[in-house]
Symmetry: C2
Subunit: 308 residues, 2 copies
């Protein structure tokens, strides 16, 4: 289905999983006449050219953002401010700048000072991804039926927000607006703390001398392998997430360890009723996620073919 | 592919996910002439009859195990001993008893005293499962390319072990022998601790007043939903696992919290290099699991269709 373009020119800054998926989704739905792309690494730019990612891959930020109606910052959260500063002189008056960072308060603080008068800044965050990264990992369906949260400051031009919303909806996303601090807390629960815990569990398994790595790998199907998927995510992106959403992550981690200690104590004292009650309660959340269309009901995420 | 039957009659005691999958896999490969089934709950027996699970569903343990060449204990770890005691008088001389419990030391301690002279006890554990449970959740491919660990005591008749191995291989499993204590430690790492952590994280999210359940559910695709799958597993089974593999689970939990505190400190002090190094190391384990054929390389466990 091809709609009228939402933007004449879109510039994607950073060509990883999110930006490359945005290109394929934009092209598929005809949401922009032209999409330019820029990546700091020459190797990434070369790969992008080879696979036909973006209508034009530019060697400089200046070329990429020139005349762009929408500029998307798709770089790690820790460098958003520096990239915004570097591209600011070349932004077209009336253009919109957005980002796809997993943390919003810090990105707003770092990027806003560099946005020129007459340019709209509408921070955003598509809640979509896989454990793969880089320019070759993108695909057009990544945002389908996934939420994209926009966190515009109150003073933002409503027309610029509405247009960006239309763009994300054109890529298949469900769009909601949210306050940046609440965003950072919600994501600390649904994403940042789970990632840290998965990284930790995989690290522990790797470290343990009494269980070999090959045993951990061979016998991973009993639960552990789900953690390894999450713990295979991009290290730079995640380092920046934890450094820039420090307070919310540490708060949720504190709640997590408190709860873990309570369950640990129930195990130590043999309190089977407490364990059973806890494990029963958590089943309901899974049911909610499946009913909300945010995961498959198929066993094991549909990894296996179910036949009698 | 139908081989010669490995056993004339197999009795499945407990008709949940594992036993029902064993029936479909046994029937598909022609591994037994007849499979009888027994469950304590009348409702489960009725469901089994309705869906054609087992050649005969029996109303008593006595009928089910009568003349069986292989009896499979597929009940929660906490009741293995009681079931073994109840069925002992009816076991055929020369028969083999096995189990599918996730903990081995305790099952051996609880079951062995009830095994009559002339009956072989070969404890086992197929490392396979899904988040679903009950008689309707089984399917014939559950064990394909999954490991099944057998932990026979040294004095066990090698012919009985070899036959059970052939049976599991006929259902598609890869079989290995292991010492029970080592089994319990390996599983504490690859399964029991990950499950407890997933249960905890989902419980924390459910509890948090400042983030609503509907937010947790809507925005789960960013990582959290992988935890909810594990935390939807059968509560009774998992209560028993933690109560009966207490020492190994508490040991690994101790290592986990130690490591988590180190990462938490790196976040608090802003030590980006430590975080990046940690997150890079854990990627390699994922690669190993994929190369070992124990998970799919497709992004997001293959949940999405990848197209440009």
């Amino acid at each position: 289905m091809t709609d009228a373009p939402v933007y004449d020119k879109v510039a994607l800054i950073g060509l990883g999983l999110i930006a490359s998926s945005m290109f394929w989704a934009t092209r598929r739905a005809g949401l922009a006449r032209v999409v330019s792309g820029y990546a700091r690494s020459g190797e990434t730019r070369e790969t992008a050219r080879r696979i036909g990612l973006c209508h034009e891959v530019c060697d400089t930020l200046e070329e990429a953002v020139a005349d762009a109606d929408l500029v998307v910052l798709a770089v790690p959260v820790g460098v958003m401010g520096a990239v915004a500063m570097a591209m600011a002189p070349y932004l077209k008056p009336g253009a919109t700048v957005t980002d796809v960072g997993s943390v919003k308060r810090r990105v707003i603080e770092d990027v806003t000072p560099h946005i020129p008068e007459g340019v709209h800044f509408v921070p955003g965050h598509p809640l979509a991804g896989t454990e793969h990264s880089g320019p070759e990992s993108g695909f057009s369906a990544l945002f389908e039926n996934r939420w994209c949260l926009l966190v515009p400051p109150e003073s933002t031009d409503p027309a610029a927000v509405a247009r960006l919303r239309r763009y994300w909806e054109g890529m298949g996303a469900l769009v909601e607006e949210m306050d940046p601090d609440h965003h950072d807390l919600v994501l600390a629960v649904t994403s940042h703390t789970p990632h840290l815990i998965a990284y930790t569990m995989v690290g522990v398994a790797d470290d343990l001398r009494r269980v070999t790595d090959s045993e951990v790998i061979k016998y991973s199907a009993a639960g552990f392998r789900d953690f390894t998927r999450i713990a295979a995510s991009d290290p730079t992106m995640w380092r920046d997430v934890f450094l820039t959403n420090k307070d919310a992550t540490l708060e949720i981690l504190g709640r997590f360890t408190e709860e873990l200690f309570a369950l640990q104590r129930a195990i130590r004292t043999g309190d089977g009723d407490a364990l059973h009650a806890y494990f029963t309660r958590t089943r309901a959340i899974r049911r909610g996620i499946i009913e909300a269309g945010q995961d498959t009901e198929a066993p094991d995420f549909g990894r296996v073919k179910v036949e009698r």
